[in-house]
């Protein structure tokens, strides 16, 4: 991992009415690192993602990505800078096909296009096809996304994120609600993305998956940083166990992922 910092979050807060969903949070992620985020329901994990990617405006604090401040930027501008994310509740463009979904990322994600042209250039089509193949949806590019299974939708989200050629990939519960086989498949994908040099930040409830893939893990509780360290330290840290790990459920989470409050 090179020394440069990819993402720097400083004193970030996000308040809804009186409730501080994210409360004066500071952490940084180095380039090429895989950074895991854990914490009980309602710890503010997804709100943190929304603030970083411009879905919601931070109430206070700074977010610096690759050297420039993005806490006031709109989500499409942040995407153009090289940040791509997936969503906890799988989001797809239901009436578009698999290729259509990935094409949106491929065409609009890379860099800001002035006025969109009338056709898809071959380079974009190629990138979209590769991204779809990368997640194993090569044969199903014609299928309409709406009625697809949870596993396919999660892979599709990752494919359209990769198609934007991101420098930072943010995954919100990539394996939540998947069966063990599917969990391993997605972990394999994330590992491949990481090995290609992309920095990855992921939120995950499934401890086995989070610990296996993360270089460093941050545990959040009530919007604040509880602990930050290597997966091994985190699992031994008694405060984390009391507040979060509680039932050391070694079994995999099956069924849809636990939602964030």
């Amino acid at each position: 991992m090179t020394g440069t910092t990819m993402l720097e979050v400083e004193g970030l807060s996000k308040r809804f009415g009186g409730l501080a969903a994210v409360d004066d949070l500071s952490f940084s992620v180095a380039e090429g690192e895989t950074f895991g985020i854990a914490g009980p329901n309602g710890a503010g994990k997804t709100t943190l993602f929304d603030a970083i990617t411009g879905l919601t405006r931070a109430s206070a604090g700074r977010i610096v990505f690759a050297g420039d401040e993005i806490q006031a930027r709109s989500s499409h501008a942040i995407c153009h800078r090289g940040v791509a994310r997936t969503f906890q509740i799988p989001a797809v463009f239901p009436e578009h096909t698999v290729l259509g979904n990935v094409m949106v990322g491929a065409y609009f994600g890379g860099r800001s296009r002035g006025v969109p042209g009338l056709g898809f250039d071959d380079e974009t089509v190629e990138r979209a096809r590769d991204a779809a193949a990368f997640v194993g949806l090569a044969e199903r590019m014609e299928a309409v996304a709406g009625p697809m299974s949870l596993f396919d939708k999660k892979r599709l989200m990752i494919a359209s994120a990769i198609a934007t050629t991101p420098r930072l990939l943010m995954l919100d519960e990539p394996v939540g609600g998947l069966n063990p086989g599917e969990v391993d498949a997605v972990l394999g994908l994330v590992a491949k993305v990481r090995d290609s040099g992309v920095t990855v930040i992921l939120i995950e409830h499934v401890m086995r998956a989070l610990m296996a893939i993360s270089d460093r893990v941050m545990v959040m509780n009530h919007g604040r940083l509880l602990f930050q360290g290597t997966p091994a330290d985190v699992q031994r840290h008694e405060e984390v166990i009391r507040v979060y790990l509680g039932t050391e459920s070694a079994s995999d989470a099956v069924g849809p992922g636990g939602g964030d409050a």
Binding site: V92, H96, V104
Partner: protein
């Protein structure tokens, strides 16, 4: 090399789920439409058909926003009328050549729509409908109460010069207008077909179904929707200008609640968000409303009831129903030919809403 490019282009279309209309049917339809004024020489029927063509252009432009873009604009009639008034005034007052007036009507409409686009596009769904609906009503009431002679008040403008076919005999002139109207419909259809399948159209549909997700993939919501708003308004403005030039008059009555119900019925019955919907819906409702011509008041009651029944029973309109029926028919035929490998095309029967309720 070219063949490869061609092959990938065709397969990209298939993979993107673009239904290329089968050329034969479209060709036949076009020839029939073009031949109509020659076969059916009754100028009343041609007049109705011509009006239907103008409404088709307007509805296609409206569907671009309402159906494909999910932009809740209920003020398109005011945009249409502005196109008509500007074209009328420009040629009446400044003697501008009617063909140029046509384009100026469209551009004026696009300009006005760009102004109201900013507040409208910032609004959440229902507020946009309220604002645009009120905009159309306010424009109508403003024109009606205008005594300054600019817009001719509730009587509107009259004596608007036509598209310079003065030399032709009346029925020849009508046929000329008819073919131009048909041309406008075809040009608009081609433009919208290309638009839907362009990156802009793809992004628009993405914004309609999952705005946050689309934005996180680099689609700028405001830019895409303003471009769509303005292009759709330009088309509606041109349609309005052509309407004014064909009839020689334009009055605020074109913007009332009655016409609005007629057009919304055409859009809903046809199928919002589909390519063929606006054209099919316009044709059907025009036939119905002409059939009821002598009933006068009852005409709008029936149209209102049709709209109510359609939106309640088949909110997605006829075109999706026909497409599913056609697909099932093909499946059924496919099963007959090759029973063992089963139907190819998977038809999405009922689309679950994308945001399934997350369970704990």
């Amino acid at each position: 090399m070219a063949s490869v490019a061609h092959e990938t282009r065709a397969s990209v279309g298939r993979l993107m789920g673009w239904r290329s209309p089968n050329a034969f049917a479209v060709g036949a339809l076009l020839i029939a439409a073009a031949a109509l004024p020659l076969i059916w020489r009754n100028d009343y029927v041609i007049d109705v058909a011509l009006t239907a063509l103008i409404w088709m252009v307007l509805n296609q432009s409206w569907n671009l926003q309402l159906g494909i873009g999910g932009i809740w604009n209920f003020g398109q009639l005011a945009i249409f009328a502005i196109g008509g008034y500007v074209a009328g005034l420009v040629s009446l007052r400044w003697g501008i050549d009617p063909w140029l007036a046509l384009v100026m009507g469209g551009s004026a409409a696009a300009l006005v729509s760009a102004v109201i686009a900013i507040p409208v596009l910032r609004l959440r769904g229902i507020y946009a409908s309220l604002l645009t609906f009120s905009f159309a009503e306010v424009v109508r009431l403003l024109v009606i109460s205008d005594e300054s002679g600019l817009t001719g008040g509730s009587f509107g403008l009259s004596g608007i010069p036509g598209l310079a076919f003065e030399g032709l005999a009346p029925d020849a002139k009508q046929r000329a207008y008819y073919w131009i109207a048909l041309g406008l419909v075809v040009v608009t259809a081609v433009f919208i077909y290309v638009f839907i399948h362009s990156p802009l159209g793809t992004a628009l549909k993405a914004l309609r179904d999952s705005p946050a997700y689309a934005a996180s993939r680099g689609v700028s919501p405001m830019k895409m929707q303003v471009i769509t708003f303005a292009t759709s308004a330009f088309i509606a403005g041109v349609a309005g200008a052509f309407y004014a030039q064909y009839y020689g008059t334009i009055s605020p009555s074109v913007m009332g609640l009655g016409p609005l119900s007629l057009f919304v019925a055409m859009l809903v019955v046809g199928g919002l968000g589909t390519f063929w919907g606006p054209m099919l819906g316009t044709a059907l409702i025009m036939v119905v409303s002409e059939a009821l011509r002598d009933l006068e008041e009852a005409r709008l009651i029936v149209v209102g009831l049709i709209l109510l029944l359609t939106i309640v029973l088949a909110p997605r309109g006829l075109v999706p129903l026909l497409q599913q029926g056609w697909a099932r028919l093909q499946q059924w035929m496919a099963e007959d030919d090759a029973p063992e490998d089963g139907p190819g095309e998977d038809v999405p029967e009922n689309k679950p809403t994308p945001q399934q309720e997350g369970s704990r």
